[in-house]
């Protein structure tokens, strides 16, 4: 590693919610694995080039746990992706069991079957937006659609009462908070207690939902720790709030900040929406950090030596704009020939909700193009309120359709 004086400090300031810091381009070219200081003040490696990010995500010498968690570099002051998670000795087996348990409930086929249900929900949200804001013609798409759809879907899948929505929405937001210090960790504790209450109230009448599946599996498997099970439930509910919500927001902004992008989708919503969704997944860059890993052994790669225990921040945001992989990498172009991206990650930890997210995004963008073809932003991109959370995104999405 080079001397501390040369270390970059994360996060690298970005010009706006859609673009990344120009420095990423220099890093990809000259220092694809660079020593940095995390927002928490600890050393880590920042990985920015597509080839290395993909390679490391698929390499079992890098994991989420740490042999001495108390000595591990911390990444941020948020209470998610902030440091090591899981047991070092059993990480791979624990993770495999978790995937086997959850994968069927999130399979591509099951998610497609939810599509009709989602279309009805989205249509109802848009009806309500139009009805409630017909006098002004201005509505907040964040509160009216981007937030309620993913939350309703994850609640149904997990078996969480939708009426608790405000409670866990606020807990999710605080857990991911990067500017509230210790309160983020207090929120994680509160979320844990909420989930224990929910799990215990469901135990007497288990149903056909993911939390019921997990409660059953945990009660039958002595090696499946109760605390781990509850944390997993919290993680799933959190992820259902903090990911697709932001992605809808970023997608709408990409589409509406250049009229030709929106007009192309409006001209052929069903034919174009898949490619639009993939481009939103590639170019949308929520949050300023990346995916966190710890090296399980010493590894020589791209001219640096990563020591066992070192932390790595894998910037999928930067990798997805790598000019050595994508032509005109910074351009939003759903017609580009390159069809792959790292927007859902890669390797063993590939996003388990990817098919759910894709289905939601397709339904949302196709419906908006059909129902509100004259939609445009009611505020400048630069004046939109950005969320101070690890997962980024906008706090508001004011649009008009007149």
């Amino acid at each position: 590693m080079s001397i501390d004086a040369e270390r970059l400090k994360l996060p690298l300031a970005r010009p706006n919610v859609l673009d990344l810091a120009p420095l990423y381009e220099v890093l990809r070219r000259e220092a694809p694995i660079a020593p940095v200081t995390t927002p928490a003040g600890d050393p880590a490696w920042l990985v920015t080039r597509y080839e290395e990010v993909r390679l490391l995500l698929g390499d079992k010498r890098f994991g989420r746990s740490h042999p001495e968690p108390e000595k591990a570099s911390r990444i941020s002051t948020a209470a998610v992706q902030d440091g090591p998670t899981g047991e070092y000795a059993t990480e791979e087996a624990d993770h495999t069991r978790m995937r086997r348990l959850l994968t069927p409930a999130f399979s591509a086929k099951r998610m497609r079957m939810l599509g009709d249900n989602m279309e009805e929900l989205v249509d109802a949200c848009i009806d309500q937006l139009i009805a409630e804001h017909s006098s002004t013609g201005v509505a907040d798409l964040h509160h009216g659609l981007a937030f309620p759809l993913p939350v309703a879907m994850i609640c149904r899948l997990l078996g969480v009462p939708e009426e608790d929505n405000e409670k866990f929405a606020s807990l999710s937001e605080r857990m991911a908070g990067t500017e509230i210090g210790e309160e983020a960790h207090q929120a994680r504790e509160e979320f844990f207690r909420y989930m224990v209450g929910l799990v215990e109230s469901k135990r007497g009448a288990l149903g056909e939902d993911v939390i019921s599946d997990l409660v059953r599996a945990q009660s039958e498997d002595p090696s499946f720790d109760y605390v781990e099970m509850v944390r997993l439930c919290v993680g799933l509910l959190f992820a259902g709030h903090e990911t697709t919500v932001n992605r809808i927001g970023l997608g709408v902004l990409f589409l509406l900040t250049d009229r030709s992008r929106w007009d192309a989708l409006v001209a052929d919503p069903d034919g174009r929406v898949d490619a639009v969704v993939e481009e939103v997944m590639r170019l949308g860059a929520p949050g300023d950090l990346g995916l966190l890993r710890y090296a399980r052994e010493d590894v020589d790669i791209a001219g640096v030596t990563i020591k066992a225990g070192d932390a790595l921040v894998l910037s999928t945001n930067a990798a997805n704009r790598d000019a050595s992989v994508y032509s005109e990498a910074e351009e939003f172009n759903p017609d580009r020939p390159e069809r792959t991206h790292l927007g859902f990650g890669h390797g063993a930890h590939f996003c388990i909700g990817a098919s759910l997210a894709r289905t939601e995004l397709r339904v949302v963008f196709a419906a908006l193009a059909k129902r509100l073809p004259s939609m445009r932003l009611a505020k400048d991109l630069d004046s939109l309120q950005v969320r101070a959370t690890l997962t980024g995104g906008v706090a508001e999405l004011p649009i008009t359709w007149r």
Binding site: T103, S107, A108, K109, R339, G347, F350
Partner: protein, 64 residues
């Protein structure tokens, strides 16, 4: 064309099903890959290759 899948590597991402649902499915009990057609017709090559390329676990091998 010949397609081989490795269920030991599969992480159940479902990317292959989205790329070519006439060739790949996910099993109902564990969500792992279910190869529906081990020798798909030549005109499916582009989609099957794409499925192999986007597999996050590199669990799909395609040979012509």
């Amino acid at each position: 064309m010949k397609v081989v899948v490795d269920q030991g590597k599969c992480v159940g991402a479902g990317q292959c099903v989205l790329a070519a649902d006439d060739v790949f499915d996910q099993r109902d009990d564990d969500g792992l890959v279910d190869l529906l057609d081990a020798s798909p017709p030549a005109e499916r090559l582009a989609d099957v290759r794409h499925a192999a390329a986007v597999c996050p676990a590199s669990a799909i091998a395609v040979s012509e």
